[in-house]
């Protein structure tokens, strides 16, 4: 792999609360290269958004403890001065959120907000900034951009607002784009338009994209690599084909078994994960997934109860956090996911 554009190492974020310390992110490692899409998947509360906020420097360091390493193009961000991170934000890295209203101000016109976003990083005239704003609205597929510049957020449909937010994020051609559930609130038809748009923009600008979502269809459609998070940590990491066709971690199996597959018979029963996601305050001592895992008995010596598994490589790209013996994992995966894992990948190798 070429040098990653973003490298995250052993990232930890702790929030002290009345009930105790919330370890929202607890040892997260991954990397994203230019021109690639890395998806982060996991249930709500697994630490996806906190991870992205940490990268963007949006976590209040007075109330939360953030440790580890975040390197953007080699530059360490966690130890950088806040002004330095602020100047990178919106310019070299930008973020789009699930709820566009959270990042669009209701009282200012779209045009005014976009112009402001240009002027934070570029010393250009108002009319030049307005021209950039107009062109970007056009690029993201908003009809009548001149008229839309005068509109307010509430005049636009959900899909249209999402596009305005994407336009705002892309104004300064960021090299890293973090999209946190960018299509979750949208209809599939609009979602397809937005995915297409992100793909076109990536082709043009070579952006590195981190896509956060719980929709395994969207991931299959867009991602090159996948990070699976559970209870604040990465439990499996690999190429898209590793995760969908050669998954080795019981939680990943559970996720894949929970979504209806189009290739399976309609009446095939779903295989949900029993129980609920963990509280991040008092995590179990051994494996975080232990309370919901059907396979812990296969690990000798009760290690699932007493010992945190490490994230260990299976291949250079594929890493798994589980005490099970790798050969045994592969056997179970083949059995559980049936045809889906019966290695279509091998055919074209």
């Amino acid at each position: 792999m070429s040098d990653p554009f973003l490298q995250v190492k052993d990232l930890r974020v702790q929030f002290p609360t009345e009930d105790g310390v919330v370890s929202a992110v607890d040892g997260v490692d991954f990397a994203v290269a230019k021109n690639k899409v890395l998806a982060i998947v996991g249930e709500s509360g697994s630490g996806k958004s906190v991870t992205s906020q940490a990268i963007m420097g949006l976590i209040n360091r007075k109330t939360a403890k953030v440790t580890g390493e975040i390197r953007l193009d080699g530059e360490e961000l966690l130890t950088a001065r806040p002004e330095q991170v602020r100047s990178l934000r919106g310019k070299r890295m930008a973020m789009i959120f699930q709820d566009p209203l959270s990042s669009l101000h209701p009282f200012y016109s779209i045009g005014k907000q976009l112009v402001e976003a240009v002027n934070v990083h570029q010393d250009v005239s108002r009319s030049a900034a307005m021209q950039q704003a107009r062109d970007m609205l056009d690029r993201v597929g908003i009809p009548n951009p001149d008229r839309r510049l005068k509109d307010y957020p509430h005049n636009l449909s959900g899909g249209m607002r999402q596009r305005v937010m994407i336009a705002m994020a892309l104004l300064n051609n960021p090299e890293l784009l973090i999209a946190d559930e960018p299509t979750t609130a949208l209809d599939v038809t609009v979602q397809a338009q937005i995915i297409n748009l992100l793909r076109d923009l990536q082709r043009e600008f070579g952006t590195a994209i981190i896509l956060i979502t719980h929709d395994l269809g969207v991931v299959a459609d867009m991602a090159d690599d996948v990070v699976v998070m559970y209870g604040g940590r990465v439990v499996e990491r690999g190429s898209i084909d590793d995760i969908y066709y050669r998954p080795e971690m019981p939680y990943t199996w559970g996720l894949l078994g929970s979504v209806p597959r189009m290739d399976a018979g309609r009446n095939e029963r779903l295989q949900p994960i029993p129980g609920q996601p963990p509280s991040l305050i008092r995590l179990p001592k051994g494996c975080v997934f232990r309370p919901r895992c059907a396979y812990h008995e296969l690990v000798p010596g009760n290690r699932c109860d007493t010992e945190r598994p490490d994230l260990l490589p299976v291949t250079p790209e594929h890493a798994v956090r589980c005490h099970l013996d790798p050969a045994q994992r592969r056997e179970i995966a083949a059995e559980r996911l049936g045809v889906a894992t019966a290695d279509p990948a091998m055919e074209d190798k």
Partner: protein, 344 residues
């Protein structure tokens, strides 16, 4: 007199054993102008004309984009909203014009489950009193007592019966949805309208709830109307699917046919837009992108309501409303130029 009398735009054959039968049902919401007189200035035509039926033990899925009228349709056929036009029959009886009071006994037979497990439960009532509410409303006294009955129900839906006296905020989203389900099945209804019952839940919890709904269906021979915008979940759970667009049914057929051999251009676009959890399939898939937004239900397009976004639209589509009619046995479509396409 209602507008549907003028144009018979959806026709669905009568099935003898239909539990619920809906004929050209319409629901308008009046828009009133400002000023003292509050004169009516127009209508939101949330449901223009829908026809379908449901037989015992069957699941009818309802899909379509946000605002197309799915929830309004569900609430109208349940008679939680008064229909503007059309006819609703339950077990062969015309219930279109029954009053709220006359509907009370029928509520034992038809129930509803909502999307938001947070707002659909009263936060000040215990789980026990929430689940037993239907007994009170119907004046039903379970032989073994209310508490024992409710605790059975709780166990049946996977809740701990000892949590009888807890409040909704002590439960997770998935558990609250189970509370809603326990309440809905308390009186052993024949039909449950589920409006986005799993949309707010994480995938692993979604699968738990979907399995529970399937088990209850088998056990009690329940019929479901399952409204959702997640097409893969709808396909999984439904026997037949109705695809809605701007207050009308565009296509109605067996689940597999909707996915494998859809005839309507809107269904083509909708099913092709759903990303599959299978990267290999995704790499080779054809996607039909729709352009523009959903038109306003206040001023829907003339002729075929889909024509402003339809890649196949022709002159005739602007002039003539396509009638929902049987194109192949049991397969209904509302299009002047239907054509089978394989997209998955």
């Amino acid at each position: 007199m209602t507008a549907v009398d003028e144009s018979n735009t959806s026709v669905v054959a009568r099935r003898a054993d239909a539990l619920l039968r809906v004929e050209q049902v319409q629901k308008y919401f009046p828009i009133t102008g400002g000023g003292l007189l509050k004169r009516k200035v127009g209508d939101v035509k949330a449901v223009e004309s829908i026809s379908f039926d449901v037989v015992p033990g069957e699941t009818l899925g309802v899909v379509g984009e946000s605002g197309c009228g799915k929830s309004t349709a569900g609430r109208t056929v349940m008679k939680l909203l008064d229909p503007t036009g059309g006819k609703i029959e339950f077990e062969g009886r015309d219930i279109t014009h029954l009053s709220r009071k006359e509907m009370v006994p029928l509520r034992r037979e038809m129930q509803m489950i909502f999307q938001d497990p947070y707002s659909s439960l009263n936060p000040r009532h215990t789980v026990g009193s929430i689940i037993s509410a239907p007994f009170k409303v119907q004046g039903v006294k379970p032989t073994r007592g209310v508490q024992a009955e409710v605790q059975d129900l709780m166990a049946r839906v996977g809740l701990n019966p000892e949590h009888y006296n807890r409040y909704p905020n002590e439960f997770s989203g998935g558990q609250r949805q189970r509370i809603g389900i326990a309440r809905a099945i308390a009186l052993r209804p024949k039909l449950i309208v589920c409006d986005e019952p799993v949309s707010a839940l994480d995938v692993s919890i979604q699968a738990q709830v979907v399995n529970l709904l399937e088990d209850l269906q088998d056990e009690f021979r329940l019929a479901y109307i399952f409204i959702a915008h997640d097409l893969s979940v709808v396909r999984h759970i439904s026997d037949r699917i109705a695809v809605m667009y701007l207050g009308r049914i565009m296509e109605l057929a067996e689940s597999e046919r909707i996915y494998k051999a859809p005839l309507h251009p809107y269904t083509h676009a909708l099913t092709s837009a759903v990303p599959l959890p299978d990267p290999r399939a995704e790499r080779s898939r054809e996607r039909i992108l729709l352009h523009g937004d959903l038109p306003s239900p206040i001023n829907p397009p003339s002729g075929c309501v889909f024509r402003t976004r339809c890649p196949k639209a022709q002159d005739r589509c602007a002039q003539e409303i396509p009638v929902l009619r049987e194109l192949a046995p049991g397969h209904y479509g509302a299009c002047h130029f239907p054509e089978e396409r394989h997209l998955i």
